[in-house]
Amino acid sequence: DDVSFQNHNLINCFCILLTADIISTVEFNYSGDLLATGDKGGRVVIFQREQENKSRPHSRGEYNVYSTFQSHEPEFDYLKSLEIEEKINKIRWLPQQNAAHFLLSTNDKTIKLWKISERDKRAEGYNLKDEDGRLRDPFRITALRVPILKPMDLMVEASPRRIFANAHTYHINSISVNSDHETYLSADDLRINLWHLEITDRSFNIVDIKPVNMEELTEVITAAEFHPHQCNVLVYSSSKGTVRLCDMRSSALCDRHSKFFEEPEDPSSRSFFSEIISSISDVKFSHSGRYMMTRDYLSVKVWDLNMESRPVETHQVHEYLRSKLCSLYENDCIFDKFECCWGGSDSAIMTGSYNNFFRMFDRNTRRDVTLEASRENSKPRASLKPRKVCTGGKRKKDEISVDSLDFNKKILHTAWHPAENVIAVAATNNLYIFQDKVN
């Protein structure tokens, strides 16, 4: 029973990166030609899409390693006697303005702006030094020559251009570049700061939910994002399942929201787990800017920015886990933070689950599919087979029962090419790239 997704068949595309560390973030750039991953060891790996090549037709659309660098190192916070992990929490690309590429990468405390540039020429014929770099004796120089540029093997260099440090007391969970391309926000558990990309010694606090008395703390910020077109609008989600939209034009400190998105809850259905599973782990604006999507533990919800009272769509990711909440609380899986993403046309959305499963929802046809990112189950250039979880009763062949799911195999990070049906899925320390079959 082959489920076609939007009349396309997703195929596994070769590139499986095995990293030493768990991948902690995945992000395409604005054109989709570059894909960046960050991992728990503080390293960033950037992939570049191969251009169409007539001599190697199968290599069209292949992503190959373009650059690798160490972004963050572990540090020690002397005041609190705590380790500051080097794990990259988020990477966000800047729109490309010249030949070089720029991205922001952040760990718990420090954001860095990296410049990735290509060098394919080398100057030769210096006057003051030899070809191997040794200084020439100035008295031996009898003639002047003009150095000439000679081609060399392509070298991709990454250099840190800005380091934005010491602005967060708590752990950074989000960064988001503003549509003005000059500023960006960084959000931790209790505060959101606004930065100018050129200025590292100053940051402007725009949201502060820290209570005067920490005993009164009831919720934390879980994610934040700038609107894709309106440079004055941002949203942030909370551990209580709410989203606040703030307008930076209304006041300098956006503690008072302009809009408050919360789905009403039936008080009779409230349980010990209600608040935990309602905690929003990710919030993303649609490309159009008209909608936003939130991910909580069991579902993804699509909200119309013009309607705060309830979401316009709710998609169940793995509702069968509701009867497993007790064990998921005991093994801490209930606190896993899944991300979600929009397809380029906003007609489809995707999010991860357990057992290396990920889910895709077509908003127009209202169909959904469960796919698996694993080596055993996918051969290169073969179509991905839809998976099914058996929720009760007799288990059919090819179905997997809820109790057989591997909760250590979690897909927390996924990314979707901005224009094409190419997706990147991070399964622990493996990166999978899938794309539409070209007929």
Binding site: L82, E85, D189, L217, S271, F272, F273
Partner: protein
């Protein structure tokens, strides 16, 4: 089952059907809650309390000081390298050593120079 559109209701569900649907949803969750409370009777009522959140704010392992941290890091690095023969490892620190436990005294540099 996959997704619901809140904006439109295909058929008006009767009150009975709605309660049945709700039971299906609240049933498993409340059952899980009862299971948890049975295993951990001293568990507080509100899981999202400030204690819980404050612990969440301070994630990460706490060390005594930077020396403790650097020692722990060094130990981790050594663990990743192939382990040396275990019989001559240091015994000090874990328990009071006996003369048999201590490694042989290495010849002093001065002595070896003379010997060489």
């Amino acid at each position: 089952r996959g997704s619901t559109m809140s904006a439109e209701v295909p058929e008006a569900a009767s009150a009975e059907e709605q309660k049945e649907m709700e039971d299906k949803v609240t049933g498993p969750e409340k059952a899980e809650e009862a299971k948890l409370k049975a295993r951990y009777p001293h568990l507080g009522q509100k899981p999202g309390g400030s204690d819980f959140l404050r612990r969440r704010l301070q994630k990460g392992q706490k060390y005594f000081d930077s020396g403790d941290y650097n020692m722990a890091k060094a130990k981790m690095k050594n663990k990743q390298l192939p382990t040396a023969a275990p019989d001559k490892t240091e015994v000090t620190g874990d328990h009071i050593p006996t003369p048999q436990d201590l490694p042989q005294r290495k010849p002093s540099l001065a002595a070896s120079k003379l010997a060489g």
